[in-house]
């Protein structure tokens, strides 16, 4: 079963490279460029994994995560938080809000892929 991944990232070039490496790893990939669009996409079709940038327009990554965890239909989505700051405060906030993985930019492609596949496998184990 292919993993369904939603990328919430306003940096077009980063999103493109993420889409490429995840599609190479046989994932179904969708992309949203701001926080509200990410929630809309997630409600339209619940992803296995959400790759969530913190600094998003309209609704930032932490707000998206908080909304997600409060929504019965979306609360089990595995979330990988991406941040360009990587400060301990961001990590603590992400942990407190229920992020599954925290990754700082610049990231390793291989690490992203392996973590996404791991999270997707865990989720399919939970749901299946």
């Amino acid at each position: 079963m292919k993993a369904n991944v939603l990328i919430a990232e306003d940096e077009q070039n980063i999103a493109e490279s993420l889409r490429f490496i995840l599609e190479q790893a046989e994932c179904n990939v969708r992309h949203a460029t701001d926080g509200e669009a990410a929630l809309r996409e997630a409600r339209l079709s619940v992803p296995d994994v959400l790759i969530l940038d913190v600094m998003l327009p309209s609704l930032n990554g932490f707000d998206v995560l908080k909304t997600l965890r409060a929504d019965d239909a979306l609360k089990d989505v595995a979330v990988m938080v991406l941040t360009a700051k990587g400060q301990s405060q961001d990590r603590q906030t992400a942990d407190a809000l229920g992020a599954d993985v925290f990754v700082t930019k610049p990231f390793s492609n291989a690490h992203i892929v392996s973590e996404v596949l791991r999270l997707a496998a865990l989720r399919s184990g939970v749901s299946g």
Binding site: N13, I14, E16, S17, I21, K105, F107, N109
Partner: protein, 519 residues
Amino acid sequence: MRDVPVGHVIRNARRQAGMTQTALAGALGVSVSYVNLIEHDRRQVRGKRLKDITTILNIDPKALDGETEARLLTELEEVSSDPALAGLDLDWTQVRSLVARYEPWAHALVALYRAGQRDQSLIAAFSDRLNHDPVLNESIHKMLNASTAIHSVTTILNESAEISAEQRVRFDSILGEEATRLAGIAQSLAGFFERNEQPGTALTAPEEVDEFLFERRNYFPDIEERIEQIRKSLDHDALPSTPALVESLEEDGISVRRLPLTELPETAHRLTYFDGKTLLLAEGLPRATERFEIARRITGLKASDIIEAELERAPNLTSNDARNRAKRALHAYAAAALLMPYDKFFEATKTTRYDIDALAMAFNASPEQLCHRFTSLRRPGAEGVPFAFLRANAAGYLTKRFPLPRLPMPRFGGACPLWAVYAAMQTPDLRQRQLAEFPNGDRFFIIARATRPVAGGFGKTLPGFSLMLACDALNADRLVYSDGLNLSSTAQAEPVGPTCLLCPREHCAHRQEPSARAK
């Protein structure tokens, strides 16, 4: 009172005069060995003997008052208290020898220490900026995003076998875009740092001004002379009245208007506004403040050249900021001299024994203006009580400081919480008096009073401050405020310190941080 080493000044002066110790001993009517003891600071000279030495060797009496050496000792004490020197077991008696025998090296040590402190505060400021500056944060965010894209795409191009020609072209173009973006960010960052570049000096601008005023003992005879001419030209032997001051300004083409606060321009500073042609004053401004503002404009017109000449003779004011601050200080000095003419004011201080309320009525001046003027009464032959002056804001931070050589004052932040300047904040309008004893045994008489804020309207309030004057306890009886107090050397005095870091009173209930002097 701590003995101050001035023997080297006598020794140098004697040698310069081509005199032997024997000749000096003969002229003084003392033994050669006694002269030797004096020159090696093993005997202190005071009174008539000191006067004889200055006459015989033709020395300026100020060179032997020990003020420079006392200040240097205080500064070296601060240096020796630095935690970085803990464990070196510095011997205080050697510091006295250093000042006595190698004074320039002692100054060099203090200068290096200050340079180190300045660098530390710059590093702290830059560190703070790196963490909180929005421009830097934004740039770093963009830089990380650009490098993330470059890193990820480069990995794809290098490691992905299954990549189409079309995708390769797209990723090549991403690399180009992001490289250009990164270059732009780097350029804007370089511009940011260039704009914020500061010339490196050992002292901050306010410290340079403090040093300048201290070196001149806050007395500027040329300015006093010019102001006296101006005052006479106002055709008033007595103190200049407010109408006379206004008239003087108007004769020079500057009009003075009083307006309701709401009609003052938004940029009005301290409830006044001056555009070069009109001086606007908020209605209800305290009279003393109003007179001072008018006087300041008069001296701005008539004494600027003499103030510029003073600044020209101050090479240690190294930055524009320091020179501008010093200029403002000298204009305020000149305004005070106009409103409180030296001779009349000096006589009044003697008559009233520095009674601030009586002087405030007599001269239409505020307590702060009076305190400033007290510190400038240093004319040889007509010297007032030497005072230290402090002003603290509501946060306890010292916003003005004029030190005495033997009264250590913190260079940054606040002082010992036991100083009366802080107690005064709890009792506005009531004067606090204090006989304070420092850890080295020096005693000072302190008076302090907090002023209430002047409410000019919401958001336009002039802040209140706490003001403190301190003088050597030996001079306390010259102040009306000491009446009824036991000032003898055995009288009970309140134990205080300079700052917690420099104070050895380990068990003080007010201690905020460990003492660097504790063994």
